[in-house]
């Protein structure tokens, strides 16, 4: 029961803040709502028993990526909101329609999947460690070592790319 209340409350907050993110005029407010959204997503992860990921979500998303966004928004302080510029080629309605179609499709799949017989929980490969964090660490450094290294390379490349882009002259 408590879990259901928590879930519905968190879900409502996530969706509410998400709507605010995409609908607010002021970009800084939008970024703030995004932070709130991420914090509630982190709460959802805790609900799902993934504490490590929740901490990472807050640390990386809320504490890192969104600060970056805020930085850029502050630097790109706009005197003229971009929305003021009207472009006849823009089809807002089409956007909403397509999004609705996506929702229907994904929802249908979900409901269909639900009506199927429940999947048997497959126990993970036997791991010598217990606990959420240790488990993830074990997986990352055994089965997923190569993707992990690729991800770190990706971050390195992105870092260099960002420096090249943002630096005025090299």
């Amino acid at each position: 029961m408590a879990q259901a209340i928590a879930f519905y409350f968190i879900a409502a907050c996530i969706l509410g803040f998400a709507v605010l993110v995409v609908s607010t005029k002021d970009t800084v407010h939008s970024v703030l709502f995004l932070v709130m959204d991420f914090l509630f997503v982190a709460a959802l992860y805790v609900l799902l028993g993934a504490e490590f990921l929740a901490a990472i979500q807050v640390l990386v998303y809320a504490g890192g990526i969104v600060v970056l966004y805020l930085f850029v928004v502050m630097l790109v302080n706009l005197k003229r909101p971009p929305e003021a510029h009207s472009d006849p080629h823009r089809r807002t309605m089409l956007g909403f329609l397509l999004a609705a179609a996506v929702l229907v499709e994904v929802g249908a799949i979900a409901v269909y999947g639900h009506s199927q017989p429940a999947m048997v929980p497959v126990p993970g490969a036997a791991m010598p460690v217990t606990g959420n964090t240790a488990q993830i660490g074990w997986l990352l450094y055994t089965s997923y070592l190569i993707p992990f290294e690729i991800a770190s390379m990706l971050l390195l490349v992105a870092m260099i790319g960002a420096i090249v882009l943002a630096k005025r002259e090299l």
């Binding site: 510029h85 956007g95 882009l165």
Partner: protein, 101 residues
């Protein structure tokens, strides 16, 4: 009613859709980037919900990769925005048509 994986999937679908709406409707490229972050979060919710259902950590490992990619994407994307803003003084995606003559 117990909360099942389906609930999480529906939540994720709704979040995903909101993100899609943001990408398609808004013109401010920073908001579009943030909508993409919402979409990635929707994916992560899915991954972790399945991870919990399957009782293994693989979904969470994937979520970590998604976060890494999101970080990379934000860094490069925002770098591009800044570079573009320096030259054009705009973040409106409709005005970003330098390739179109």
């Amino acid at each position: 009613m117990p909360i099942t994986t389906t609930h999480y999937i529906l939540l994720s679908a709704a979040l995903f859709t909101i993100g899609v709406v943001g990408v398609m409707v808004r013109r401010n490229i920073i908001i579009i980037f943030m909508s993409i972050e919402l979409i990635l979060n929707a994916v992560n919710i899915n991954l972790i919900a399945f991870s919990q259902q399957l009782q293994n950590g693989i979904g969470q490992v994937f979520a970590i990769f998604v976060i890494a990619v999101a970080a990379a994407e934000a860094a490069v994307g925002l770098g591009i925005i800044l570079a573009f803003y320096r030259n054009k003084e705009t973040v409106n995606i409709d005005e970003m048509n330098v390739m179109r003559s």
